[in-house]
Each structure stands twice: as C-alpha cells, then as structure tokens.
Symmetry: C2
Subunit: 523 residues, 2 copies
C-alpha cells in the first residue's frame, strides 16, 4: 500500500538547468504549461545539455547524494533497526510471511495504476532491452507477484524502499527514496475481517512505537463515489474529484472547493454539497445516521459501503481499538486502485525539527498542534490483481503501509533529546595490553573469543597506548576490557576490567568466555 500526501506536486519537478542558457526562456515561466509543452521543453533542454558536452562534459564534481535521497549513518541505522524490529514483530505476531520483489519492474507493469501520480515514476534509461521503471510502491509489485504465480490467498509483509520523483521536503521527513513497510491480506474472505485486522495492526504498531497520540481516519471509496453521485458529479470525474478531496488534509476547504470549481469544472452548488458531506466525522453512529440520509440512502454503492462500515466498527470494538478510529468522510486517498474501505493514520503531536521550527517562525501558528501528516495508510483494492491476470481473475486484497521515514525522524529527535547514548556496535569486550610487543598475543586471544561467539575487538596497532584502548571503549560503549601483560600470560590469566566502574579482576583463561557471557548477558 502506498503512503499518501504526495499529490501536491508541481509539474516542473526537477526541471533545472545545470548551466544557465541565455536563449531558453526562464524557468519561472513554466507554471502555465501543459504536460506536452513541458515534455517538449525537457527534450530541448536535454539536447542543449548534450551539445554542451553531455554526460562527459567537464564540470565540477559535486560530492553529494542524489536529490531527495540520504545516507543512513550508524546511529540512524541503530534507530532504524529498532523501529523495524517493532514493526516486523507485529507483522509476525499476526501470522504474516514475507516476500521480496525487484527494485525495478517492466515499465508496463506500473502503467495505469497510479492515476495523476504516474508522472512521479522514475524510468531507467533505455540501454537496449526492456523498458524499466523503479517501483513506486510495494502494492503494484505485490499484485503482479500474485497474478504471475496464481496465488489466491496469502498474508504477507514486505519492507523495502520505493521511489518517487516528488519535490521532497526533507526537513519534514519526506524523500524521493523511502521505505515502506507493507502488510497485505489477499483472498476471498467474509467481509471486513481482514480489513479490521489491518487497522488493529496500525493501532498496535503506533502504540508500541510510542510516538504520542494518534488517530486513524476511515472511509470507503464506495461511500465517496455514492456521495459524488448524489451530489451530481458525473461518473468520469469521480477519480479526479477524489484526488482533489484528498488534499483536504493539506489545504483549507476554500482552496479545495476552488480547485473543484475552477480547475475540475464542478458547479458551485455541487461543490457545496460535497463540502457538507466531507465535514462529517464520527463512528458507528455516523454510519447508521448516513444509512438514513435521504440522498445517500438512495445510492446502492454508498449503502454497501455504509453497511460494511458498521460491520467494521463492530469488529474494531472486539479488537478494542475504536478509541483511535474515526469515520471521516473527507478521507479520499489519491491512488486509483482502491475499491472499498480506505484508512490513514495521523499523529496528533507536532513534529518540530530545528529547520521546521525556523520556517515556522515566518508563518506563526502554522504547525502548532496540527497533525504532522499521515504515518500509515491503506485500504481495499479488489481489482488490482485482475488487471494483471490474463483472464482478469480477481483476488480481493486489503492492506496497510507504514510510512516509516517520518517515524524515523521523530525517533531520531527523541534519541537526540534523551540522555541515553545509542550504541552502534554490540562489542562485549576489547582485547588490550598495557605493554609493548604483545600484538600477537592480543590477536590470538581475540581469535579465541571470536571462535567462542564473543563479540570482541582489538586495536589494529602494534603498540597502542592503554589510554587509547580505554578511550575507544568509552566512546563506543564497550563494557569490558580483557588486558594482557607479561605477568598475566605467565599466570594463565587475563585482567578483566569493567569500563564503567574501573574494577579489575584476574580471570583464568579457561573461564574467560563464561565470565564475559555472564557479565554481558543483560545488555
């Protein structure tokens, strides 16, 4: 399933010239262009670049990662590992298997699956052979996998990076390369049971990650479609109006209405009717009330959606998660492939990175107390697998995607503010010496420890100072030092030093492994 909030994209993403050219019009004029005009412009730019020397042209080499991507340093990896462990444990607790798919797919596999977001797909260069694109989410590759292997039911998770040529706001944890953690249930089952489990999973993960308060918005594409129909939106506009409604979490109603009326061609009256519905929020009660709504109750689709919504809330009560779940008619989700229930989890606290705080200085109150955006989302997509099956056989699916980058950012902030130091290695003991010419003895003991399964390090110096060796332990959090000297070697012992309290005891060589294991079993 794809995380959301990526719809607000400017068409000219990435359209930057490496060298300014006087005879091309300035970039700021691009805003009113159509897609095909832009395509034309892009190719002109590429031609120009080629004429200037192309890929092999001489220019200053910039030492950086690609735009919108980042490295993870060891500390960030330690946090990432912790977050993944919580998420994977939850997926396994719910009986999921895992699969993996390639980072690129045939371009055709992705075509026609993402609606307006398709322009954000990364294509590979045509170097002869197949046309390829980087995966945009894990859901479409999953559907392709099911159809290709004729799998009709599976409960699987998949944690991997996906790629979107979006204009990223990196201070707020949004990237062009980012992880998704997906859990999906495929198969023909009784209504809303797997759907409820997906919501239970989001609830468990966000609770366990301890990110502060959150809520999960729920809606149904059939309710949205029914609502559009009774408000007088024509069928062919459902999807595009859906995309516009999806922006309600980032834009005020006035702007959304403006887009509906001026860009998408709805009448003001129709837009206002939509506006009334999308302001509604509630729970089981709202579903029951809307089933009595004079307009909505006349629409078959809407009734089916509302009946399922009632059923869903029943199961959520059994799962004891209704305190965080809100039936919210403004939730739309941008992607084309959803067919039934949809949901999105939002953190209630403010994410205040130093950079964001600075920006907010200029726009007071912009973020205060407002949600930081979605950290999970998903829904039911019963038609997607059928798009891949040669005979169109459908496999009903429902799933959820945890948008992990924003969670990483919050965890990093928490770690920075906390007094506890994050260890990036698990080394239990450093093999050291206070005397010269003992490198060989140090290496021999280190190998003994490795062979016994002890996590051990030794400095790669012939004659390191004891102080240097102890400092290495302090810096990296190694709790023990095994110190060798002439006397210890003669006596068949090792001086085992506790780095924290500096206590030293002689331990016989034969008992060293057990002693280290005993002392580090808690950590």
């Amino acid at each position: 399933m794809a995380t959301l909030g990526l719809s607000c994209v400017r068409l000219c993403t990435g359209l930057t010239l490496r060298r300014a050219s006087p005879w091309l019009r300035p970039l700021r004029c691009l805003s009113g262009m159509t897609v095909s005009q832009i395509d034309e412009e892009v190719s002109k730019l590429l031609e120009l670049k080629a004429r200037l020397g192309g890929d092999d042209g001489k220019h200053t080499f910039v030492l950086k990662t690609a735009k919108g991507t980042r490295d993870y340093n060891p500390k960030q990896m330690a946090i990432r590992e912790k977050v993944f462990n919580i998420i994977i444990s939850c997926f396994k607790r719910h009986g999921a298997e895992t699969i993996d798919t390639p980072v690129f797919e045939l371009k055709e596999t992705l075509t026609g699956k993402y609606g307006e977001d398709s322009k954000l797909i990364y294509d590979l260069k045509d170097q002869g052979g197949e046309l390829l694109s980087l995966r945009y989410d894990l859901t479409v590759p999953f559907a392709r996998y099911l159809a290709m292997n004729k799998i009709t039911n599976i409960k699987r998770y998949h944690i991997a990076k996906v790629y979107r040529r979006d204009n990223p706001a990196m201070t707020r944890g949004r990237y062009r390369e980012f992880y998704q953690c997906d859990f999906d249930i495929a198969g023909q089952y009784d209504p809303m049971i797997p759907d409820a489990e997906c919501l239970k999973i989001v609830y468990e993960i966000l609770s366990e990650l301890d990110l502060g308060d959150f809520h999960i918005k729920v809606n149904d594409r059939r309710i949205l479609d029914g609502m559009f129909a009774v408000c007088g939106v024509s069928d062919e506009k459902f999807r595009t109006i859906c995309s516009t409604v999806d922006k309600l979490d980032k834009m005020p109603w006035e702007d959304v209405k403006n887009e509906m009326v001026n860009e998408k061609g709805l009448s003001e009256d129709v837009a206002d009717q939509i506006g009334e519905y999308v302001s509604m929020q509630g729970g089981l009660d709202l579903a029951e009330r809307l089933l009595q709504d004079p307009k909505l109750s006349q629409n078959k689709q809407a009734c089916a959606g509302l009946t399922d919504m009632k059923q869903l809330f029943g199961y959520l009560q059994l799962f004891q998660v209704t305190d965080k779940v809100v039936f919210d008619l403004s939730l739309a989700r941008g992607l084309d492939y959803y067919t039934g229930v949809i949901y999105e989890a939002v953190l209630c606290q403010t994410l205040q990175t130093p950079a964001a705080a600075e920006q907010n200085g200029a726009v007071p109150g912009d973020e205060a107390g407002v949600s930081v955006g979605s950290v999970a989302g998903g829904g039911r997509y019963d038609g997607l697998v059928g798009m891949f099956d040669p005979k169109g056989r459908k496999v009903p699916c429902v799933g959820v995607s945890i948008g992990i980058e924003r969670i990483f950012s919050i965890m990093e902030q928490k770690a920075e503010m906390s007094a506890e130091k994050i260890r990036t290695t698990e080394t239990q003991v450093l093999v050291a010496s206070a005397q010269k010419n003992l490198l060989e003895e140090r290496l021999k003991l280190t190998a003994e420890l490795w062979n016994a399964g002890i996590k051990a390090e030794v400095l790669y110096k012939k004659n390191p100072k004891l102080l240097t060796q102890l400092q290495h332990c302090e810096e990296t959090g190694i709790p023990l030092v095994a110190i060798l000297g002439e006397q210890e070697l003669k006596d068949g012992v090792v001086k085992l030093r506790n780095v924290a309290n500096r206590e030293e005891v002689d331990v016989s060589r034969a008992e060293l492994v057990e002693e280290i294991k005993k002392r580090t079993s808690q950590s």
Copy 2:
C-alpha cells in the same frame, strides 16, 4: 567490495528488438562490431521503436519480472533470513557498525571506478535534473560516504542490492539485481592486521554456513604489477592485462594467452613469462621463495607486496585459518580500484541445480568436481576515497564482499533435499472453533493473545469447519490450536490442542497465555 566473475560479458547484452524490423540487419551480425558502432545501432533501434509508438505502443503485456531479476517467495525469504542472520552475527562479532546508502548515485560518482565493467552500469532516464545511475557495488558508495562525511576510520558492514547489466546465467545463481554483504575497515593502521581480519571473517562465515569445503585465494596487486613489469608489460597495459589474467578461473591458460597476444598486443614471450608466474600457488613458503626470485626481487613494488604477504600469513596463523588460504599468483580481480592485497573465496563442491545438470549433459565433465565460482572477494583499495576528496586526502581501506546469491542457491537446494519442512511464519497458535456463530468470540480471544505478545491467527470466515482450521495448522506448521465452544465459554476455559499428537487439554482462560508461551518456548 565487489564480487567477481562478471567480466565475461558480451557487448551486445540486452540488444533485442521487441518487434522484428525487416530493414535493420539481423542481430547475429552484431558480433564483430566496435562499441561505437553498437552505440549507433542502439540509437537507431530506439528511434525505430519510438516511431513504432514508443512506450505507449499497443502490444501484448508480458507478466514477468525484469530480465535478470527475480521475486523471493516466502520459503526463499526464510532461507535468506537464516543466511543473513549468520552473516550479520559474524559482522557484529567483529565489532562492525552498519550504514546504508541510496540505491542510485550521481552518475559521476560511479564514473571511472570500474574499468572495463563500467558498461554494465544501469543509468536512469534523464527526466530533468541530475543524471543518476544504480549502484554497481557497495564499495564506491562507501568511499563516497567517507569522503563526504570526512570519516577517516570506521569498521562497517552494509547489506544491500547492487545492479549490473550483465548477461546473467540464472540457473547458476547469477542475476542483474543481487545482494552484496560487505564488511570494510577504513583507517590508517599497522600493515595487514585489518586485512587478516577480513580473511578471518570470510573463513568464519563460510564455515558457519556449512557449504562444504572451500579455499581462499590471496594475491596482491603490487605483486601482479611487479610481475607484469619484470615480464616486460608496459605500464599502461597493467590494468587491461590484469583483467585478462582475472579470467583464468573461467578459461584455460591457452585462451588467456591468446587474448593477451592477439587482443591486447603482448609478445608471445612476455605472455609465456606471465604464464609461468601465474601457475604458482603456495603459502608463506612461496612468498619467501619469490622474495629470492632473481627477477621479482629486483622490483620494489613486488618486494613490498611479498613482504606484506609474509606478514599476512603470520597473522592468519594466529587466527588459525591458514588451512584454507592459498597464495595464488593467478588471482587478479577485474576492478580498477584495488591497490594491495586481494582475495577471493571459492567453494570446492559442485553446484548441481537440475537445470545445470541438464546443460552439463551436453558438456560432460564440465562441472564435475570443479569449483562453482567465487562466493566472496575483496581486497585493499587505498586510493578510492581520495578520488572523492576535494583535496585528494587518502583513507586506506580494506574489505570483503560476500556474494550471497550463489549461497542462497546452494541453501535452497539443501533445503529441498532435506526432510525438514521450512516454516514461513512463526505463528504459535490458531484460534479455532468447532461450532457456528462464534466468530466474535474467536476474534476477541485472538486480540487478547496478540495483546499478550502471542503470535496468533484466526481464519477470516464466519463459520469455518474445524477440519479446515486444523488443515491450516498442518500446512503452515502452527503447533497449537485454541478451540472455543459454547461449553468452554461457559466454563471459562479453552481447549488447547497439540497439532502434532492431537492431545487436547482444557486450560483456564487466565492461564492460556502462560501455557502457550511454555509450550512454544523451544521453537
């Protein structure tokens, strides 16, 4: 570090037409073309394709993964997890941290690092903005990371996929997208100590994976260069002759000599002198003997390499790994960036996939008893970080890469032949019922178990048959069933069934969690 054995590439890789065209010459004529002729032809083909409708042309959609890539199904993932756990444990035992880098880099970052193999790099389509390429290995991104962050010493591992537009032989576990597991030590240290640890790591991992006998070939680029010099190869030909020597594990000496003489322009006499050296294998003794060699001993580079080789074998003795390490003058490794010691681990057993066995029917004896190719490789690359540093500051590095795909293939084969069934989930208990209308009670109990940290499943059916529920346990290896019925609900108990021996006992609801934990603590 990069795994090897990827040099034997045909230039026309991937040059296939999606639709045959009568007015382009047939593909089989391409074999004698130069690179620039091929470039020209490729662009003609692309133009043709565009004229035929380009990306949007109507043609049959093929349901497949991209050439040279594959999905991992849940069973393969279970094996992969097992292999990764062994490798990561080893890296952590040796005190390594981990980092991650993006899947694509600026194209320039990869330029000029891989010598003849550069043509195998995947480029991304120019969609405006930066020119990007998929990473070819993890070593160059590592060096870029060090230079960018001004890190002068680190011991890190990195496990991730890399991309090569090679002509893959997938039955033998070679792919265009494949995992590398890299361990590298960066920093200015006393000679050969980190180098020896890298070899110790390869030894530990291959032993623990239990893949059968193996050996590790070691050589040094300085010894190779010295050897080329004393044999009369001109300086500018060192690297290209190195690439040719690297093919000795896949081609007989006659073919290698032929390439040296006819393609690379060496005289037959020079080639024969090289041939004599590259047939030498040994240990510490060989290094000592070559230090006395009348020709080699005159070369400063060679002497430095041989002296280090002696030192290395000394440390390897302390690490007790010399039984598997061979000083082999034919080991060259194709990549440009190595500057000192190089090594490569080879499995001695035959890898017999059914497909390979079939192919071998046509070429009898081709594989019998012969090594299946390298499963790990690496070496010292002291100049690579300096290529990225604006001031050219060097950071000495040495590392090793475990080529995991071949290891997966072998582990999969072993698993298939073994009687033990691989579980793809870790579910401890299925919540079931023999009676109708107990869905809500099943869901409630399942949620109780999840909340207590028990891995539990429940079938998504209102009224599943007991037999169906028991079959699900048999198929997926779930060891326990918690059965609910009217009577059990009245008595406040659950019938806990052992799937293996069919024994059932009533357990009070309050003690259920503890009982399940107790019974599944071994598994």
